[in-house]
Assembly symmetry: C2
DNA sequence: TTATAATTTTAAGTGCGCTTAAATCTATTA
DNA sequence: TAATAGATTTAAGCGCACTTAAAATTATAA
């Protein structure tokens, strides 16, 4: 395909699929920060090219082709992130944007060589699994959002959403990174915010933030 | 600037400057494999943006800005080439095209980190010097094209032009790579071709090929 | 259920980087 | 020097990826 924009749409679609595997154009427009009209335009092209199932005024689905394409770009993205973080020591909150550019500019051969050099990492620095050459993604059933935890439960942070603006910078500030243990001190009904204990400190997380931090329960 | 095309034009201009620091549009069109009309179009934009000095029907010069921009892209290109070749073991004849894509998709910060990781290489895998952060390029006065050697002179291959289609693949086939010693056996007048001895074999190089292989004399 | 709000699409228009064809300018050479 | 070849520019047009504004459709809530 060799088209940066189409690649961006496909990954945005894949990243934002709902529980039945669909996305609405409006959400895409928000995520990609472009107008709804532009989205409509591109959906026609993606549909024409066989990457999505699309009918006027309906939600979008990826075709088999579209899904494997999207996963291949995610693979590229995540492998680059590992390289930038582990090999070059680039900071947590910068690697996503940098990888976003590189993912469109690297051959499969390069990605495979990089993967080998990095010794076949399983997750990227934000905890997302790296699809293998065939597009297979290790599933992580036990991974849940902080919002799903109950009062007094303890858990370990295993993933943070790298696709939300400024989230990583904020998390770094309040001392959250992968591997950290947290405990739910309280869940506030009126705004959905959650009070957690981390590193001995009490921190209040808004619902939006909490829903983008993922953990595994500690028994 | 953030514009792939303009970056490609600037490097193409820099790479093809003549002895008085100028290029003709026609040469650019050939190198970039596009029409002359497209070149004219872009020259207007590059001029508008202050990267080149351009007057209708005249040759093109780089401005100070244009030159430092071009050198920065060359820097990115060559550092990526070192990484692809040395770290990942990608083959000699593939790294140029791969780096051509990466050079447009990497921040200065990334390039600086890469340079550090690679321990500040001075030349790329084809023997071209790597501009430093300030755009300074080590000059290599003693480097000359094979065509400048006389009969019976010996020399060491120190650079090959990576910007000529299929040249590297061809050179690999006939056993030429950096560090190799050659000796001029004969220079043929009628077509400018040159007979050299390399690895114990006699090889005839066309004028075009010979003019793109660079050496340092051995006394 | 119907008014209103939100979403989505269409329409018209823009800048970009290209194309081909024709016009214009410059260089070569007879 | 005048004809011609070659280089360059202009003109018109195209697909891309966007925009805003208006129209059409769907969802929501009174």
């Amino acid at each position: 395909m060799e088209n940066i924009s189409q690649e961006d749409y496909l990954t945005a679609i894949f990243r934002n699929l709902d529980d039945v595997g669909e996305v609405k154009p409006n959400l895409l427009a928000e995520k990609l920060e472009i107008s709804n009209a532009a989205v409509t335009d591109m959906l026609k092209k993606l549909s024409r090219d066989g990457f999505i199932d699309y009918k006027k005024y309906k939600s979008i689905k990826l075709t088999t082709d579209g899904e494997s394409y999207a996963k291949n770009i995610l693979r590229r993205h995540r492998i680059w992130e590992v390289f930038l973080y582990k090999t070059l020591g680039m900071s947590w909150d910068k690697i996503h944007d940098e990888a976003e550019k590189l993912e469109h500019s690297s051959s499969d051969e390069l990605i495979n060589l990089l993967e080998e050099f990095l010794d076949y990492p399983e997750v990227d620095p934000h905890g997302y699994p790296i699809p293998d050459k065939k597009g297979k993604i290790k599933d992580s059933k036990s991974v849940i959002a902080i919002t799903e935890l109950n009062k007094n439960e303890s858990a370990k942070v295993v993933r943070v959403n790298d696709d939300v603006k400024n989230l990583l910078t904020y998390l770094t500030k309040i001392g959250i990174n992968l591997g950290r243990e947290i405990k739910i001190k309280d869940k506030l009904e009126f705004d959905g915010s959650i009070l957690i204990k981390i590193n001995g400190n009490d921190v209040n997380l808004s619902k939006k933030v909490a829903s983008n931090i993922f953990v595994e329960k500690i028994k």
